[in-house]
Symmetry: C2
């Protein structure tokens, strides 16, 4: 199983987003990645809360693994001023965690529709980023805005296209602010390659999975690379042409994959990475 | 319950898309609409197959109802040439049905990803429309391309934004080809108002419903106007500013609504139309 026309990447270019192996303890996931020759891991905040940032950072350092991302913060829009301030505070705490981890980027998800207005909510996202970026800069942490699929526009992410995210990044024009490209969220967009080109020099993360219909819960229906209709390799070439040379995170939230033990799931993920990334 | 700032529309501006009352026989739906003072109905092809186009047309004519749309045809991409030809033939039959009904527009859904390539599939859509439009012109039938939400890109509609549909309509530049705007499919798009403006003079249909998270089956989770976060009235003003003066179809595919008897469901739909359209 290989994608048409293209050299396979080394597993050193792969990062395992730990949401792909949800039931594995973070320490086991890190150990398995090191053993498999994978280049890095993407970490979630609940893991930081449980295991501690310094313990995770130390285990990765001694295993020679990069921490490609900390997922996630943001979710700025809210009906009240106090709730919005709380989200900004929480995102500043996430900046601290990312700094302690040495994570290469803090992933920001924009957040839901508040005040029943997607337009007002988009302004709240801009204000939230504006409030957080100076602190990220102080801490030396890069912040990556990840637009989610439009099916999440109401409840998770009012920023739903690379184009919108690029506009916002251009408007805020802050050296620490990057774009995170996840193929699951943007593959359908006729402008996807054009917007990746437009983000030249500003891409801070690249996440892969695949899309297979028919699907059920939209949060959990990502497929392993190669099972669906996303041109993952074509998109990888685009982000590389736009200057991205970081690791490629495999982030597959899929209940069937989660049921598999780590020593089966990780080799399957690695095989698909080699064949399709 | 009224939408902020705006005069209520007469029910004569409303059309009931019969998918909103799925379990009602078409003849009952037409009779109920006439009784309620609704201006028109949107008809589906399985109803034409069951009841006959001429019987539906005659009942609507004598009740003073317009037939605002026939849903639907298109679905052009397919892996084989013969399957693509079959879809074109089927769409020509739908043109015949629309002509016999006197439907104001035949709604076209572009179709799924074929040959594992969304780009190749989009070319198949253009070819399919190109093959069908001369016949629609002969028959005097308007054809309306309706982009669906990006969550349907893989399995139903590779054309997922108003922008893409506008590009395709501009490229084909055929007098019978129009754009159908459904708020459920395009409300999330930061370009929605700009693309509606761009479609000036070419909007052939306007469908309303609402979006409420969390949701289950994406086909069946539309909500009654006013239950969700779509700015329906703002979008209605945009399509009117772009020259659309046709009826407004309420198309709410929702299992809870389907469970209600017609004499409860239709008044509820009419109330929401008056308050939120």
């Amino acid at each position: 199983m290989t994608a048409p026309g293209g050299e396979a990447l080394s597993l050193k270019r792969m990062s395992l987003n730990t949401a792909s192996v949800r039931h594995a303890p973070i320490s086991s996931a890190i150990a398995a990645c090191a053993e498999a020759g994978v280049g890095g891991v993407g970490v979630w905040r609940h893991q930081v809360a449980e295991a501690g940032a310094s313990a995770i950072a130390e285990q990765c350092r001694s295993a020679g693994l990069r921490i490609t991302s900390l997922c996630r913060a943001g979710l700025f829009p809210a009906d009240s001023q106090s709730a919005r301030a709380a989200q900004i505070d929480d995102t500043r705490r996430a900046v601290d965690e990312a700094a302690e981890l040495g994570a290469e980027i803090l992933v920001i998800v924009s957040g839901p529709v508040a005040q029943r207005s997607i337009e007002a909510s988009r302004r709240m996202v801009r204000e939230g980023l504006d409030a957080v970026l100076p602190y990220a800069d102080e801490c030396g942490v890069a912040v990556g805005l990840e637009p989610l699929h439009p099916m999440f526009a109401a409840d998770r992410s009012v920023v739903v296209t690379l184009g919108e995210a690029n506009d916002l990044i251009a408007e805020l024009d802050h050296p620490r602010l990057r774009l995170v490209v996840d193929v699951y969220h943007c593959w359908w967009d006729a402008q996807v390659h054009a917007e990746i080109r437009r983000a030249v020099g500003r891409i801070g993360g690249f996440h892969i999975s695949d899309w297979v219909p028919p699907w059920g819960n939209p949060l959990l229906c990502r497929a392993l690379p190669g099972d669906g209709c996303i041109d993952i390799r074509g998109l990888r070439r685009s982000v590389e042409a736009a200057g991205y040379d970081g690791l490629i995170e495999v982030e597959v939230m899929n209940e069937a994959l989660w049921e598999r033990p780590l020593d089966e799931a990780l080799p399957a993920i690695c095989d698909r990475f080699t064949a399709h990334a």
